[in-house]
Each structure stands twice: as structure tokens, then as C-alpha cells.
Symmetry: C2
Subunit: 111 residues, 2 copies
DNA sequence: ACGAGTGTTCGATAGGAAGCGAACACTCGC
DNA sequence: GCGAGTGTTCGCTTCCTATCGAACACTCGT
């Protein structure tokens, strides 16, 4: 067989083009997910595993949040060995919702 | 006395500049409020009273939604006789959250 | 000053979303 | 093939929000 790293249940992805505005807004309207998106934006693609984020929630909740982000077309995931690495779908999301991502990233978390 | 139309409890307004992103997103992440904002955008300033919107909710809920929109700096209200008329704070909100309003208005409700 | 019209507030209910802990699934190094 | 590391799923609790009906407040015409 080919070099398939992980024949685990592939994560379901939704392309930004198929995402209603309401879904996108709802996905971003959460403090934890906001942190995820921001940290993700500050890191290179596929460099961050799900567990590597500094958020005050357990694994279960974290997993759920990533599912929401996937469903909103904000994040793409790929299995790499035992861990699941992430990528922010910057350009695709920007094409679908111009300015929205910038808006969220332009904010200081301290505010 | 001056021509004061209404000495009712003046509605509390929040300027968009004082609104956190999260609040703005949360305010827009609701189907009913989305309709309100869109209909409001399609009408002239101060031409629509609260009760004049085609949404499937009662007066109580409606009142609450407008309170949320005010709190997010999206809507300005003024008492005009017995009714409370509204205005979408287009430019102010646009200045604070560039592109966000356009994003919401550019959508077909049918989608 | 009464009554119709319009909004807000109160109290209560129902639904959804976020959170946790525990159990399970998969990958990899030893 | 065991065990540590990593994520997902499940069941349950908790909290927040949307909603309603009813009561109240204000304005205006008659």
C-alpha cells in the first residue's frame, strides 16, 4: 500500500464556499475558537497539532471546537502520525468572506 | 418647554468603537437579527419602527433583539411619538469593523 | 381622561452549546 | 505487542439565550 499516514476516519471538511454567513459568524463568536484561529494565524501551515494550543479547556471540548471550525471552512486538518495537524484556510476563507478573517486577527486578545 | 417628543427612558447606546469583536460577531450570529439588520439596511434612516419588521417572533423577543443590536453598536434608536424608530449605524460600524456589515448585507436571505 | 397603539420588563420555559470525565481508537517507539 | 501519547466519542451537567405571555409604561387622538 501507499505511504498512507493514518487510515483513521478522515475529518469531514467543509469548503468555505459552502458555508452560510450565519455559520461563519457563529463559529467565530466564541472566545476559545477566536484564540485558536489567532494562534493558528500566527503559525505556519501544518505546524500545530490540536493539543498545542493554549486554551483553558479539556481535550473533549477542544476536539469539539475544531469540529466547528472545520464545519465553518476555517480550518483544514490532516493526520500526521498520531497527531492531527492544522492549517488556517486563509485564502479560501478570505475569498468567501472578504475581510472577516482580517477583522478577527487585527484585534489584540488583551482587549 | 421645548418640543421634547418622549421623556421616556432613553435607550442606552453603545458606540461601535467601544464594542469588542466578539460582541459584534455574536450580535450578528442570529437569524432574526440578521433579518432586522438587512431590512434596516434597505430602508431609510428613522423610517422603520421596531414593530414594522417581518420576523416570526413576538414583541418581547423583538425588544430584546433590538437591545442586543444597540449594545453591539449596530443600531441607533430614537423615540418618535409612541414608537421607537431605528437607524443602522452604517458608517460608524463600518469604521470600526470594516467589511463586516457589507459581508452580511451581500447575502441573499434565501440561501 | 379614556382607549388604542407601541415598546419594555418580568417570570418562566425550552432548547442548544460548552464544559468535563471516562471510555475508546489509532499511531508510534521500544 | 505493550504502553505512552494524541484525539474522538459518549453521557451527563450546567449555563446562556431565545422565546412566550402577561403586566406595566408612555403617547396620542378623540
Amino acid at each position: 500500500m501507499a505511504q498512507r499516514t493514518g487510515h483513521r476516519a478522515a475529518p469531514e471538511h467543509t469548503h468555505p464556499d459552502d458555508v452560510p454567513v450565519l455559520t461563519a459568524l457563529a463559529a467565530l463568536a466564541d472566545p476559545v475558537r477566536l484564540v485558536l484561529v489567532r494562534e493558528l494565524a500566527g503559525s505556519g501551515d501544518w505546524t500545530r497539532s490540536c493539543g498545542s494550543f493554549d486554551v483553558p479547556v479539556g481535550k473533549a471540548a477542544l476536539s469539539h471546537h475544531f469540529a466547528v471550525l472545520r464545519g465553518a471552512g476555517l480550518v483544514e486538518q490532516r493526520d500526521e502520525g498520531p497527531r492531527r495537524v492544522n492549517r488556517l484556510r486563509r485564502t479560501e476563507f478570505e475569498a468567501r468572506f472578504p475581510g472577516l478573517l482580517d477583522l478577527v486577527l487585527r484585534e489584540t486578545p488583551t482587549a
